[in-house]
């Protein structure tokens, strides 16, 4: 299972890539595998505020609907609009083309609540 070392993770299987004050967010390879065929993602609008640990959208797979939880708090600066017509990108490239939103983070200190790649790898090996 691919767990890139340069990312941080939530226990709900989102990943966060922090570059300056921008955080790119998606779901992990493990999560897309558990969800199966993804057919729709509901994302917030640009400018919306999100809070760490709170739902910022939903993801619909054929199997079920799941909430997306924000790894960090901040304001949505960009959404991956290509997912609207091609949600399967999340299945095919969860750490790449399947990214979901970028946020301008409001509290870099929240990083301490996220899991390292090593800890996340341990978490999914137990599930």
């Amino acid at each position: 299972m691919n767990v890139p070392a340069d990312l941080l993770y939530t226990k709900d299987h989102e990943w966060a890539k922090i570059e300056g004050d921008t955080v790119t967010i998606g779901i992990t390879e493990y999560a897309q595998g558990e969800l199966g065929d993804i057919v729709f993602v509901e994302l917030p609008k640009k400018g919306a505020d999100v809070s760490q640990g709170k739902s910022f959208g939903t993801i619909e797979a054929v199997k079920a609907v799941s909430d997306l939880f924000a790894p960090m708090s901040g304001k949505i600066s960009e959404i991956n609009s290509t997912l609207e017509s091609a949600p399967e990108k999340i299945n095919n490239s969860p750490f790449g083309d399947g990214w979901m939103v970028k946020i301008k983070m409001s509290d870099p200190g929240e990083k301490k609540n996220l899991l390292s790649a090593a800890d996340y790898g341990k978490l999914i090996s137990k599930e």
Partner: protein, 368 residues
């Protein structure tokens, strides 16, 4: 928490070996999907052929001189219309018209077989036993002895014909015969839950592994794949086939559920008839309809259906249609808002999405 009483079908190890994701369902460990995933499995059944282990289903035998009369009282369709070798879709109702279960009735030369939903098996058995006459009908629950495999898809006849005797080709929809599959005694039935050309094979549990392997051997050239419960659900939804517990239950009567075609109010007395006749005379207040979603959202069971800002109904099933590429669903709406073409809204976790009532089945398999 895993229930230690959860049963395994005879093919449990085969599902695990194929990479099946196994979940507890209706008291059994059942494969919900295999590594190719629900959408690929769905397309497999619609394009060539797939195989489902549905051994969790329940089977009851009814023997004796009063069996026909009893079943005709217990079920809502007309059992007396069945010829030997014919299958009938039917249901059992409570006295208030609510549904105990939907089911199949098979007529053999000397007895009847009833096939019921796994999730309802104990309840159905109790219900039958509660009404069983003191004499004239012998009841046997043979569920644990029988393996049931469904082979469904446009190539299913081609695949099965060489290993089945007598000739499979003349077998008509909703008919069956007792014959041999790869040399093993079986009941071969042209029935299914997918809308495709397809067959269901009932055989003794001890033959399960042998048949499973032989079917994969002959199925190879048709790209036969195992299909899990996930695709079974998306396939039946595209046909608007009811799923007990979702679309029908003890609170729905068969007329509301659009099952008037199996509700034979003129056949004589049966359990639930008076209540169903009353609801018909009073005028049905709601109807189970099929709808499509007009944006990209995906409906599920239990979402409010909205008209003019007010909740007027509820969805009972829904998902992304693999073949149509859009959200489809079923739900109860007021009769006056049930016409095809009616536009309503769906409340998905607080946000409203437009839907339209459409003709069903949602998907029509090409005629074979």
């Amino acid at each position: 928490m895993d229930d230690p009483n959860t049963k395994k079908t005879a093919l449990y190890n085969d599902h695990a070996a194929l990479g099946g994701k196994i979940i507890p369902f209706a008291g059994y460990w059942m494969p919900v999907q295999y590594p190719t995933g629900i959408m690929a499995e769905h397309r497999r059944v619609r394009s060539t052929v797939g195989i489902f282990d549905v051994s969790h289903m329940g089977e009851f035998e009814f023997h004796g001189p009063e069996a026909e009369k009893f079943l005709n009282y217990l079920t809502i369709n007309d059992v007396t219309k069945l010829t030997v070798g014919q299958v009938q879709y039917s249901a059992m109702c409570y006295p208030d018209g609510g549904m105990v279960d939907d089911l199949l009735v098979y007529r053999f030369a000397d007895h009847y077989l009833m096939v019921v939903n796994a999730a309802n098996l104990p309840k159905d058995r109790d219900w039958v036993l509660q009404h069983l006459p003191k004499q004239g009908v012998e009841f046997k629950d043979v569920s644990d002895d029988i393996t049931l495999l469904a082979i469904q898809g446009p190539r299913s006849l081609e695949m099965l014909k060489p290993i089945i005797t007598p000739d499979l080709e003349p077998l008509q929809y909703y008919h069956f015969f007792q014959g041999k599959v790869a040399g093993m005694d079986a009941i071969i039935s042209r029935t299914g839950y997918t809308g495709e050309l397809g067959y269901e094979i009932y055989l003794q549990r001890r033959h399960s592994k042998n048949l499973w392997d032989q079917l994969f051997a002959v199925g190879k050239r048709y790209d036969l794949e195992p299909i899990g419960l996930g695709a079974r659900d998306t396939l039946r939804l595209e046909m608007k086939y009811c799923l007990y517990g979702n679309d029908i239950d003890a609170t729905t009567n068969p007329l509301e559920a659009d099952l008037g075609w199996i509700t034979k109010l003129n056949k004589g007395d049966f359990i639930g008839r008076d209540a169903i006749m009353k609801s018909k005379a009073a005028g049905l207040t709601r109807k189970l309809v099929g709808f499509e979603v007009l944006d990209r959202s995906v409906p599920r069971h239990g979402y409010p259906i909205i008209k003019d800002g007010k909740a007027v109904g509820v969805t009972t099933s829904g998902n992304h249609s693999v073949m149509l590429g859009k959200g489809i669903g079923m739900g109860y709406v007021p009769t006056q808002s049930s016409a095809i073409g009616t536009e309503l809204e769906l409340d998905l976790r607080g946000s409203h999405h437009p839907i339209k009532i459409v003709a069903t089945p949602f998907y029509n398999p090409p005629k074979n």
